[in-house]
Point group: C2
Chain length 377, copies 2
């Protein structure tokens, strides 16, 4: 499927996982239509809606109204907003409240929010009664094109992010593109970085299409729906090929090894760097590093940086405000990343735009000298 | 395979789950041989051994010695003994300690203990890094023939037992029959009830063999290995047919609906009733209730009760010391059991020894009048 073959208003992408296959619906007003879409696919269920205070203030009432209109009884579990909510304490609290509502295995946990709520509610759905049905209603662009699809759930621990969780696929994803208009420009751009990532992994035509049409994607309307659907299709293809990340799925980490290190180096301070911004810089660094290793042309790295800069994303370590730790500390952060195996560093590298591949034997010394070269201080 | 076809010393049963297939080894001295058996199947791993204080005092040192001799580095996580350990607090503690040891996804969580440790450590293995490898080393008969096989893991919450957990299959089960000699007679009998259950579900020949040879099974030696292997084979067959309990697997709950209600009615006080004893009484009640519904002959219920009584297990509510709540409260406990769907009661009923089936439309009124008839007070 190319981007232009996707229909213009609503779009539906299917994640083909056999008996656990599920649809991702993308379109306007899907929160208002949620009850009908769920009832058509999952008859005779009740639901617990998990959300955060910010999102609930905007969308909880319309969503619960839509469920009620379709005959779906629901209870609301509203948690504090922010990354700190991805903690065992909130898992326990939410699990007990799902059980308070006497929901059964066939009933729904419905995640209404961004990545934090999706990851936490997905984990709760994965463990209460050894696995309840999950419906994702992502309300950030990042969640719509990435975290709500593919079944990764999790919470953070003292040791790091997403170190505890399960793979638990949703039964349905409802990506309401209308809610994106309430995002700040910065939040939208951060999600956009993950869309660019799919082009850079193995869809050069999609990357070229984004270079050409990004203004329409930012403006909303059919081009935005198309771009989200194309991103979900890209993710669905990867998840179908390697659901539990034994290999191929790790390509989705393009830009993430450098990106996570920069997030850690800035103390996960969203005022300085949000996840999608770290990924944007990380993707440029991955292309530059691949060029330094003579795997790709430096022109590709320049092309990637030019597009990300055009939409307003940071593209270099020097774009981050405030001081960064020295290169050897950045390398330590990379080494603590969970994608390290037996002392060798695993990176997604590239032979050019849309030609990424997994390298599991990158010498730390090569990374260190590259970081020294690119370090702004 | 019939019981007599199983080889006499060691035995190996395979749970056929495609790429996730695994072996259950049954035999003497398997704790001493654990390192070699693991290294032969899972090269280049490290391990966290989860155990409780009682079991660790007996077997932790030999197990870790065996691992070390095979070149497997291990760390020990020793928790308090008892059902209260199946709590979120201990999950969090154990998860953090697995991460402290910097274990990776391919590394092992090794559960050394009875059902409590197996359920808890299995859950930890299922959620740390979204699923690590799990090796079960069950040290009670109940765990060897039931809970260590089949991938059910979980903890208790304020709402009840095993309401939070995941399905997470082990990579290997090592059932050391030597450790069973340190069990009390009461603990051994409780595990034996679950062996009888497999015969009653769909293996009438195995039930007849147990009637004939139970003294040898209790004495130890080849007959015990045979009986454990036959039980594991029965469970493996059911798990292979219905891993996630969408239907057929629920047959394993024969005797458990009445049994759980009696456990709840006695406040989970192990001095009055342990799980296997509840199952023994529950299996007799299930056969008697099936006879009352004209599904089976009362002779079958008498035969089942006679065998369980012969080995020293309780077979009637009157065998439980102290007062029981009235029949309507017992019915409430049955109704709160998680195997209830949309107000109808789900029971495993039978048409005779080895001819159990799932009935999901049992009227509560029929259960109540049966309970009134059988109630001792």
């Amino acid at each position: 499927m190319t981007a232009d073959e996707i229909s213009s208003d609503d779009s539906c992408v299917t994640v083909p996982l056999g008996a656990r296959r599920y649809d991702i619906l993308i379109g306007a007003n899907l929160i208002e239509r949620a009850g009908a879409e769920i009832a058509a696919r999952l008859p005779d269920v009740r639901a617990a809606v998990v959300s955060d205070e910010n999102v609930a203030a905007l969308y909880l009432e319309p969503l619960q109204g839509s469920l009620a209109a379709a005959g779906i009884e629901s209870t609301a579990i509203v948690l504090p907003a922010g990354e700190k909510t991805k903690h065992f304490d909130h898992v326990i609290d939410a699990a007990e409240r799902v059980l308070d509502a006497r929901l059964e295995r066939g009933d729904l946990v419905l995640a209404l929010g961004g990545g934090v709520i999706g990851d936490l509610a997905g984990f709760v759905a994965g463990i209460v009664r050894r696995g309840m049905r999950l419906v994702q209603v992502p309300t950030s662009l990042l969640a719509q094109v990435d975290s709500s699809v593919g079944g990764k759930t999790g919470i953070n621990t003292a040791h790091g992010k997403n170190l505890v969780g399960v793979f638990h696929q949703p039964a349905l994803v409802l990506a309401d593109t209308g809610v994106l208009d309430t995002l700040s420009a910065r939040e939208f751009r951060a999600g956009y970085a993950e869309m660019v990532k799919y082009g850079l992994i193995d869809r050069p035509d999609f990357f070229a299409w984004l270079e050409d049409r990004w203004r329409e994607v930012f403006a909303g309307g059919p081009a935005r729906v198309k771009a989200i659907a194309q991103s979900c299709q890209a993710k669905a293809d990867v998840v179908a090929a390697d659901e539990h990340e034994h290999g191929h799925r790790a390509l989705l980490n393009l830009g993430h090894t450098f990106g996570h290190a920069l997030e850690a180096a800035t103390g996960y301070d969203g005022a300085r760097l949000v996840h999608g911004e770290g990924v944007a810089i990380g993707m440029v660094l991955a292309h530059q590093f691949s060029a330094r290793l003579n795997l790709a042309s430096p022109d590709d790295a320049d092309r990637v940086a030019a597009h990300l800069r055009a939409v307003g994303l940071p593209t270099a370590m020097g774009d981050i405000e405030g001081p960064l730790p020295p290169p050897d500390i950045l390398l330590d952060h990379i080494g603590q990343d969970k994608k390290v195996k037996k002392g060798k560093l695993t990176f997604v590298l590239t032979r050019g735009v849309g030609r990424s591949f997994l390298a599991d034997d990158v010498p730390p010394s090569a990374v260190l000298s590259f970081l020294k070269e690119k370090h702004p201080q």
